[in-house]
């Protein structure tokens, strides 16, 4: 039987792994390659790696961890894919077909689109035809607005007039393979997923939906699997502060009887 997935998200800003709160405050957490190595050792089902830098400067200054300074995001993807024996989804700053090709040839298995998917839905169609639906993930950022949720673009800075479930159907119709739904309100809050938002999006499409935004404890993962039809649960911050976090979260789900892979620890 196909398993539900537990996916850590790694946010990268100017070459560093960061923690995000409200899409606006960032705290530096360290070297991107070391972080992915750990997530790989804790047997993550896959990872989502998102570049949220505004500029093009990549600096992983510390060389004391055995990884050399790499000047570009593509080189960082290459280094990461060398030690991640699991699928990698790469997102951030993808604007052209060439951007996709570059990321896939550097070791990404899937790519994740955000603003471009909102500005140009034809691009989703074109990308899924060229590279296959299986490697096109659309990330949707949503925020509560009076009574319903609305989609935001450009890293949460611009409001649109679409509801997330409307937009989810549009991206599915255009050939997207998966949807990552993220609550801006819950980002960095640790107060749990926005269940009504996640449920609405998961029920509106037949492609796999990944829940994101707000996880503060392992029970929040269980809650998403119990109350919604999501295929996968994702989180970022919560995985960074506990040793063996992914392993422990997986163990919690596995022992509670959820349909996940057996937890494992691997030496890499």
């Amino acid at each position: 039987m196909k398993k539900n997935r537990l996916i850590p998200i790694v946010l990268l800003k100017d070459g560093w792994v960061v923690q995000s709160k409200d899409f606006s405050q960032y705290q530096n957490l360290g070297n991107p390659v070391t972080t992915v190595k750990r997530l790989s050792e804790w047997a993550s089902d896959e990872i989502i790696y998102i570049d949220i830098s505004r500029g093009d400067k990549y600096d992983t200054r510390r060389n004391d961890q055995g990884y050399k300074n790499r000047g570009s995001f593509l080189n960082i993807i290459k280094d990461v894919s060398d030690i991640a024996f699991m699928p990698i989804t790469v997102g951030g700053k993808i604007r052209t077909m060439k951007d996709i090709e570059d990321r896939l040839s550097s070791g990404a298995d899937k790519i994740c689109l955000n603003s471009i998917a909102i500005n140009d839905t034809k691009f989703i169609n074109q990308a899924s035809k060229e590279f296959g639906s299986q490697c096109i993930v659309i990330s949707i950022d949503a925020k509560k607005n009076l009574d319903n949720h609305l989609v935001y673009s450009n890293g949460g800075r611009e409001i649109t007039n679409m509801t997330p479930d409307e937009f989810a159907r549009i991206v599915e119709d255009n050939g997207a393979g998966e949807i990552l739904i993220n609550s801006i309100d819950r980002d960095g809050s640790g107060s749990g997923y926005d269940i009504p938002l996640i449920e609405k999006v998961a029920d509106s499409v037949s492609i796999p939906v990944i829940a994101c935004g707000g996880v503060g404890g392992w029970d929040h993962f269980s809650e998403a699997f119990e109350k919604t039809s999501v295929d996968a649960v994702a989180a970022a911050n919560v995985f960074h502060y506990t040793d063996q976090s992914v392993y422990l979260a997986k163990k919690h789900l596995y022992e509670s009887g959820f349909n996940v892979r057996k937890p494992d620890l691997i030496k890499i």
Binding site: M1, S40, F85, M86, G177, P208
Partner: protein
Amino acid sequence: MVKTKICILDYGSGNIRSVYNVIRHLQFDVVVSNNAKEIKNSSHVILPGVGAFPSAMKKIENNIPLDCLENEILDKGKPFLGICVGMQVLADFGNEHESCKGLGWIGGSVNKLSVGSFPLPHIGWNDISIIKQSQIFNGLKDYRDFYYVHSYAFNVKDKNHVLAHTEYGSNFTSIVCKDNIYGFQFHPEKSQRAGQLLLKNFIKLYEKE
């Protein structure tokens, strides 16, 4: 006697980099090549693959010296492993987009998965059921989930060649084996402990001291 050296066939398709990384990680000597001399000098041959059956076959015919490869694999019995589409091309023919001739090393055809209401492609972690015991499963224990990305599967003619199947809407062949020729429908290079164990077993089974 050829010492253990794995040749990953490079025909301009597929996940060569990650297959190379995992073999290196397992500490075996490995080369990526489509050169007849390298194929002859290696102890094992791996054919990775991502993409559609017809385009993979076309690239294989254009880039790989098939006479040499068939001589090494079919006549001399060198161990061979096909991954994903690299497994599917072992069939007599494939029915993806158009009917297309395969290598015909293992009898059968490649057809679209019959999945009922499940979405295609079949993407993600899924477990295997062992149909026929083999040393390739040595030490597998409870870690039986592998990572898949595909919409088509190999309908093997002789059921004796099926080592394992996987369920997604219906059962499909996930590991095929005929003598020294193996095929994995999943991606062992993306399947962490379980994937590395099967790769290691495949290499060790035919390792010469």
